[in-house]
Amino acid sequence: MSYELNYTIGSIPLEKLKPKKVRKNIELTLWERLYIPEIVRGMIITTRHFVQNMAGFIFPPNGKKRRVFTVYYPEEKLTIPIAYRGRPVLVMREDGTERCVACGLCESICPAFAISIVGGERRRENEMERYPVTYTLDMSRCVYCGFCEEVCPKEAIAMSDEYEELAERDRNRMIYPKEKLLVSEKRLKNRIDYVRKIYSKNNYNAK
């Protein structure tokens, strides 16, 4: 059996990579045994990091080429990738109604039993349609697993990229009613496309 080692690390080809020299003999040189200069060198490194971060604290950085490691959160927000699962939201059509048909699949798959639905029927464009009369999501139990999104046949629930303002002082306020969960289709378009791709939801309606 032979393995072909043709991958690269970063942009450097493998042949050019050399093993790094490690000092195995830990006898200190005279310069190191003088002690003071090495201490000063260490302090310079520490101070450099301190000054850099302090400057970043006063003038929060932006852009990708940043030297400051810390994310200054309330002022500066990271752009998070599309695969991130934030708080689950219901997809709202353009006329303000929800896509959900209250089939109860999300309710039954939810490992934390965080979802509870009461279904009903209503008239929309001369057709009868099922809809959730109440759709309650207990955010104090939701574990952001994304099963509800995966199981939903109508693409009516999606994990958004919202993660802010979820902390509460009162546990009663963490039970979200339907009105608090609705988010318009436009904002969730990217996520829904992504979900179609990863779960291959459209394989059955061949066109």
Binding site: T70, S140, V143, Y163, A167, R169, R171, M174, I175
Partner: protein, 189 residues
Amino acid sequence: MAINVAMSNEQRAMSAGQEEGIEKVLGNSVLLTQLDAIVDWGRKYSFFLYPFVTACCGMEFMSVAGPRYDLDRFGAALPRFSPRQADLLMVVGTISHKQAPILVKVYNQMTEPKWVFSFGVCATSGGFYDNYATVQGIDTLIPVDVYVPGCPPRPEMVIDGLLKLQEKVAKEKWSDWPRGEALVSKKGR
């Protein structure tokens, strides 16, 4: 959906309905309100946390306490590993019934202006451990100030929670924080 939610701190303070100690004597005088303001200002930027870490949320606690998100920017960086030196109890992770007496003991041992931070869904409500072994939310044991959901919460959520706690501490009066031992412990009854 059966959710039993214990009294929040505000409700408890309202139901108590009476001011204690120094406020009883001096009332809401100018001196006391100004002193309150300055003491609260000092307190909200100097939390000493006691990380009560029992589960995987601990990893996320490390990430929020580390240099990437840096709790030190909010003055809450220094974890104290003795409850007697700490004033913010971070309950990070699942609390089983076996663990509950320890949590209550740690809470009782803390010095008196003390706040409790529920970190993650397991501490907040039991999460998906809806079973006989797990405490369904630590607010059934001790008064909780801030709940942060998430499994585990993103560091940003934790910082949100900490800012909410700072807001609360900034408005506190002398009589506001719960005094004495937790109600579930024997002496507290």
